[in-house]
Assembly symmetry: none
Homo-oligomer: 438 residues x 2
Amino acid sequence: VSARAGIVITGTEVLSGIIADRNGPWLSERLRERGVELAHIAIVADRREDMAAALRFLASERVDLIVTSGGLGPTADDLTTEVVAEFAGRAMVLDEALEQRIAAIVAPLAERWPNIDREAMARGTRKQAHVPEGATVLEPVGTAPGVVVPPLDGAADDGLPTVVVLPGPPRELQPMWRTALETDAFRAAVAGATVYEQAILRLMGIPESEIAETLRVAERSGVDLAPLEITTCLRRGEIEIATLYEPAAADVYAAFADFVRSRHAAQLFSDDGTTIDEQVAALLSGPPPRTVAVAESCTGGLLAARLTDRPGSSAYVLGGATVYSNAAKVALAGVDPALISQFGAVSAEVADALADGALGGFGADVGIGVTGIAGPGGGTPEKPVGRVHVAVAEAGPGGRRIARRLDLPGSRPDVRDRTTTVALHLLRRLLRGEVDDA
Amino acid sequence: VSARAGIVITGTEVLSGIIADRNGPWLSERLRERGVELAHIAIVADRREDMAAALRFLASERVDLIVTSGGLGPTADDLTTEVVAEFAGRAMVLDEALEQRIAAIVAPLAERWPNIDREAMARGTRKQAHVPEGATVLEPVGTAPGVVVPPLDGAADDGLPTVVVLPGPPRELQPMWRTALETDAFRAAVAGATVYEQAILRLMGIPESEIAETLRVAERSGVDLAPLEITTCLRRGEIEIATLYEPAAADVYAAFADFVRSRHAAQLFSDDGTTIDEQVAALLSGPPPRTVAVAESCTGGLLAARLTDRPGSSAYVLGGATVYSNAAKVALAGVDPALISQFGAVSAEVADALADGALGGFGADVGIGVTGIAGPGGGTPEKPVGRVHVAVAEAGPGGRRIARRLDLPGSRPDVRDRTTTVALHLLRRLLRGEVDDA
């Protein structure tokens, strides 16, 4: 192993289970991509002695790099930078230029709070502008700067690791991590680590056990999997096959990808890293450009929210109707009340009518209708919790349609989320002009 | 502190970020309920030396109790019990009665797999029936037994902690934890632990630095904060003040809560642990029961999705219109096109009209209108990215209304998410009949 690392997640709220940590798993994947082996993730409260103990433990495990998340805020219980400085044997010094840059960031925020205590704010800013002497400052993404703290040259204990100190919010941590990678201090810490290639295959409509079998058959057919580190995982209803390999094994990976491609031609939808959301956005953007609208019941707005999650989606999303009540299905999505009384609100017929309603109501090129039972209540023996109907329809005479009846496992959030994934996949098929082979 | 614990989560998939750990947060809450302070959660791979290092680290931190999860399966890479035995200085011994009980559990499972290797199965069963000498066995919930391993009496190092060894699957770990609580070995480890109280105050419309100042002022005013472990955190635009305290300090906490209550009367919305989502759901459920509908633009369905996130929400959410295009605002939410051309789609006037459109279109008791610029594009000097208008309106003549213009910081997902929080807070005010003091 060329380089070894530890992660310290700080935060009483994370340790106590109030907030779920997203940074540990994310950083773990990023380290693996850089060829750095992760030894431990330590989760500690915002307590000085516990944070220091975790740093000392990782150092005693001879890691080359420690990445911390959290504890960079303006208040006194945000201790990370200070504890790391002490660990590294470096004094905390005020970076006045940094103080001014932080002040410039928070000034417009303060405008909104006429009664704000400006002195407290200035104290917070000054606190955040204190950094370990000799550390490389990582510019704030939110308001808090990060730092990369190299070991002291010629220190008594030469074996101390470099520490990368990052903020807790993932939207700040993730861009700042990329900045940290470019620093000399980071490069020195992981010098010699092999940078791995990572490639991802995504499949829809296949059980995870089937992929385990595919790996076995591939090996029996003479595909050499030894140089590939393959992990498969089920994510939001899709199967992801993530493979790490050294650049020299690119041909081996290509042979493996070809094998999966030919064995699962109908299920493989991405071999270039793109997600279903990205593919749908690209198809809608065109050419030819097409617009979409939705009429959804059990997903309650989640499908529209997922489609509008992307910057620029206003170019192709006209809107959606969340039609939870039957009256709303009739009034807003133009569903014939007779359909509801004959087939029930959760039926293929109503999903179809909702797709048509989305087309008509918004004047869209493609409409999506969703109706189902997300649970935990509302199920019956004939229509159990998890039963969902999804329909996508093209505008105009002879417009094509695709529809599915689903019986989804899991809890209410699972059923709702999984349904949006299926809807995006049906939308993709329709937009690509694929025939419905259901 | 009367008892202190550490948690060791084992599993290469968890460490590498492929599987999200659910046991750490769950055990953390259970420990807190028992008055046991959690010092660290360590996540380690299924590697003997890393697991042993994590145990030694926690022992060096003088914890009284270690809880492990995972690594109890029948295969050779399931190492936890063995590593813990070595850590505790106890030999591994075969428990023949346990072996027979495990064999009885797995026999019917084997029936389903005609090609199963029965010798390998028997080897696995025998492996799982090896336990540290003197440990208390926790009967299998799935197929794997757990153990509670007390420190050796009169051992050289008397300070070693008791170790509770639990399986990885949460559906096995959780019932087994309750069994472990009843063992003498567990009781001895946490003897004398004080069961702490936890209380949470939630505030909206206040910067985090202001809370830091409030803590300082409270102390200066003679409120004794020393017996309280206070952490503050900014979450989805709200401030959470979580406090842990011993039952004897209940009066101190009450004085602190009163101080916050009087200083931030307008901002404090929860002192009983309830979230804004729960409060809104309770207010809508009644009495009197009221229905809600939304017409949203920049949040693109997220507000409807958040309202329908809760089981049973179909009782009070009639639905929503995601009106991204101007044409949809007119057609689905009945917005007068003249308003859009005169004031622009992002304006107080259009937010008001959207709220009215939600009322009318769905026949709801309360309507919410949202329009804004989530970014990253679409901003202008007059209407920058982050500008959002939210309006809530009551049905009927003389129906009350509350509206806000917001300038929200952050990225597109931040602006969208924060807007849903503000909308819920305005909805709460309206439902409570509070006057608008904007």
